[in-house]
């Protein structure tokens, strides 16, 4: 008998009586007008910075102020008009080891915790939002939902090959519970919320 069969048969024999899966439980949510302020509070609470802009071009202008060297910014959203577009070579994430800034589209935001969904479909390589020093996310305001329950209701049933909720810059508190921002991932995280699409 293979281990697979052994495990499954033992589980079958020993498992407790099945109960139905709880469904359609309604949890309190964040009301529509409260979503943006709640999101901002959560994201900044996690050490991130929030900017609210009216269009993609104005993000470009803001980036110019923040990072004066466009060659150090990898921008996956051409309409922003600032920084370098990713090219084929970066399929190997290793070449990004010294990347300063990555600009990435977030397709969903969650008000209760400031998490932003980044899908593999929107990034040229999975490691991009982790390996950069400074992560800039772009999130349409219309895509902010109240809670994680709503987030999973909206995400596609057939998940992308890879997707991640990102809630702020990387962090650790492993040494004496002192919070240090910037562990292995970005040391800073910025989100620009787009008022219009």
């Amino acid at each position: 008998m293979t281990s697979r069969e052994k495990i499954l048969s033992q589980v079958r024999q020993n498992k407790p009586v099945a109960v139905p899966l709880p469904e359609n439980i309604s949890f309190a949510t964040v009301t529509a007008p409260e979503r943006l302020p709640a999101f901002v509070k959560s994201f900044t609470g996690a050490g991130g910075v929030v900017g609210i802009v009216s269009d993609l071009a104005s993000i470009g202008r803001e980036l110019q102020v923040l990072f004066d060297k466009p060659e150090r910014v990898m921008n996956t959203l051409p309409a922003i008009g600032y920084g370098l577009a990713p090219d084929e070579a970066i399929a190997q994430g290793h070449v990004l080891a010294n990347l300063e800034v990555a600009v990435v589209l977030g397709s969903l935001g969650v008000a209760e915790n400031g998490a932003i969904w980044v899908s593999a479909e929107n990034i040229p390589t999975r490691v991009l939002p982790f390996i950069c020093e400074h992560l800039v996310l772009v999130l349409p305001q219309s895509q902010i939902v109240g809670t994680m329950h709503e987030a999973y209701a909206v995400l596609p049933k057939s998940f992308p090959d890879y997707g991640v909720f990102i809630a702020g810059p990387s962090r650790t508190a492993d040494i004496e519970q002192s919070l240090v921002i910037g562990a292995h991932g970005p040391k800073r995280a910025h989100v620009f919320i787009l008022e219009k699409e």
Binding site: V11, N14, V19, F27, F130, A151, Y152, P169, S170, Q177
Partner: protein, 464 residues
């Protein structure tokens, strides 16, 4: 044959050693209580927190009652996604599977993010014996790895270490300045040191927080980003999980991700909640499903629901005994209350002391996000251990004697009277620190001249 067994360093002995440095014990207690308080603040912002806990507990109940079906469904979907699925009946098989994959690729060194399962299986030691260099990349885990110690906490592996000690370790191993202990400075040094490891490792091992039967994908949660850095930069990603980590649907993540980080550290969510469904182009993705005693535990009526655990560590942070004895005093991969009810499933003899390392205060049960009745299980384990002969014979004999004495009102009264008389006449004996562990650091109560019963007979009965 009576199978009495005395553990070389049982919890009580290890705790006594831990408490010899009282100032340090105070610091340890406060560090963990601080996290408990952050957890309280975070949970109180969710008005339907208790409903969330109840829902999570029911989802897990559904999982355990259908575990075979979900495992098969998960396997089928994961295979379709291009993930290679392996089954390991025990720790040895798990380690063998991982080593085989490593050797097939001719790999010598690898990075690993936190996985309590691999701790349980002692994977690091096994790989090391086989000439593989394993680098733990979670900061806390790297610290204990450099110190050649096991983690003392499932979420905060080096919570027992002071920053000066981390500074000294980093000075020796990473070349940081002598005497430097600023956490930001030390974290930056670890970042530089580990980034080089990420960039040069062809294989990454991660744990799994949740595996979704319906979609054949799995979720890994970290704050540091180390699981992603490792997995995305490696050609081969191996994810290892216990079979109980399955959840039925992606939508269930809504419940669990709301609970996990709030319970663990008081954050509303971990910085990264990564959903892996298919390997990247040119990458290989493996998933190892490990039983290692779980399918047996599933059949124990009183104990199976500890398989609901999502490894948040809330019970550890709140445990007044853990805070004052340290994770290593539990001598098992998972410390604290949850460890104390999981460990006897693995080895009753070796872990017989752990269910007794508790006052049964019940705080663990109240913070558990999946409502495991931890303190009741501690009580029930005590009964099993008593029945099976794993409680020291002296304790058993005294309990037997006490049981007979207290079942007999006359004997009880004689013993009580002589006890009180003795304490009145020889208070020094009752307070003798060597003979009476109570009196080592506490005074005995002053014995009254009569019992309540005596008083009652004198003052009440006659008036009736």
């Amino acid at each position: 044959m009576h199978n009495e067994y005395i553990i070389p360093t049982d919890h009580a002995t290890a705790a006594e050693v831990f408490l010899q440095d009282e100032e340090r014990a105070n610091w340890h207690d406060k560090a963990l209580w601080f996290i408990r308080e952050k957890r309280d603040v975070a949970t109180k912002q969710i008005p339907d927190w208790e409903l969330l806990r109840e829902t999570a507990s029911q989802i897990k109940q559904n999982v355990l009652g259908n575990l075979d079906n979900y495992l098969e469904m998960f396997e089928q979907n994961a295979l379709q996604n291009g993930i290679k699925v392996h089954w390991a009946a025990d720790a040895a098989e798990h380690n063998q599977i991982v080593l085989n994959i490593i050797q097939q690729h001719g790999i010598q060194k690898l990075v690993k993010s936190k996985s309590m399962l691999t701790e349980e299986c002692h994977l690091n030691d096994y790989l090391l014996e086989n000439g593989i260099d394993v680098i733990d990349t979670d900061l806390g885990e790297r610290v204990v790895q450099l110190a050649k110690e096991p983690p003392s906490h499932i979420v905060l592996p080096c919570i027992h270490k002071r920053k000066e000690e981390v500074g000294e370790l980093f000075h020796i191993h990473l070349g940081t300045e002598k005497g430097a202990s600023d956490p930001a400075y030390l974290t930056e040094a670890a970042r530089q040191h580990l980034r080089e490891k990420f960039l040069t490792s062809d294989l990454a091992i991660t744990g799994v927080n949740f595996a979704i039967a319906e979609t054949g994908g799995f979720v890994v949660c970290t704050n540091e980003g180390n699981a992603d850095m490792g997995a995305h930069l490696a050609k081969v990603h191996i994810a290892c999980m216990g079979i109980e980590k399955i959840i039925p649907k992606a939508e269930n993540l809504g419940v669990f991700l709301r609970l996990l980080a709030r319970s663990a550290t008081g954050q509303p969510i971990t910085t990264y909640s990564s959903h892996f469904h298919r390997p990247a182009k040119g990458q290989e993705m493996h998933l190892v499903l490990v039983d290692n005693g779980r399918s047996v535990q599933l059949g124990l009526k009183d104990f199976y629901n500890s398989l609901k655990c999502i490894r948040c560590g809330a019970c550890i942070n709140t445990c007044p005994v853990y805070r004052r004895s340290g994770g290593h005093s539990y001598h098992y991969a998972i410390s604290g209350p949850i460890g104390a009810i999981l460990a006897p499933n693995m080895d009753m003899r070796k872990n017989a002391d752990l269910p007794f390392a508790s006052t049964l205060c019940g705080s663990c049960t109240n913070v558990c996000p999946v409502k495991i009745d931890i303190h009741n299980q501690l009580y029930k384990w005590r009964q099993v251990l008593g029945e099976e002969g794993y409680v020291p014979a002296t304790k058993k004999q005294s309990m037997k004697a006490m049981g007979s004495l207290l079942s007999n009102p006359t004997l009880y009264r004689i013993a009580g009277k002589s006890g009180r008389t003795m304490m009145r006449l020889l208070p020094g004996l009752a307070n003798n620190k060597a003979l009476n562990p109570w009196a080592k650091q506490r005074d005995m109560p002053a014995p009254p001249k009569e019992s309540f019963r005596d008083w009652y007979l004198k003052n009440k009965k006659q008036h009736d």
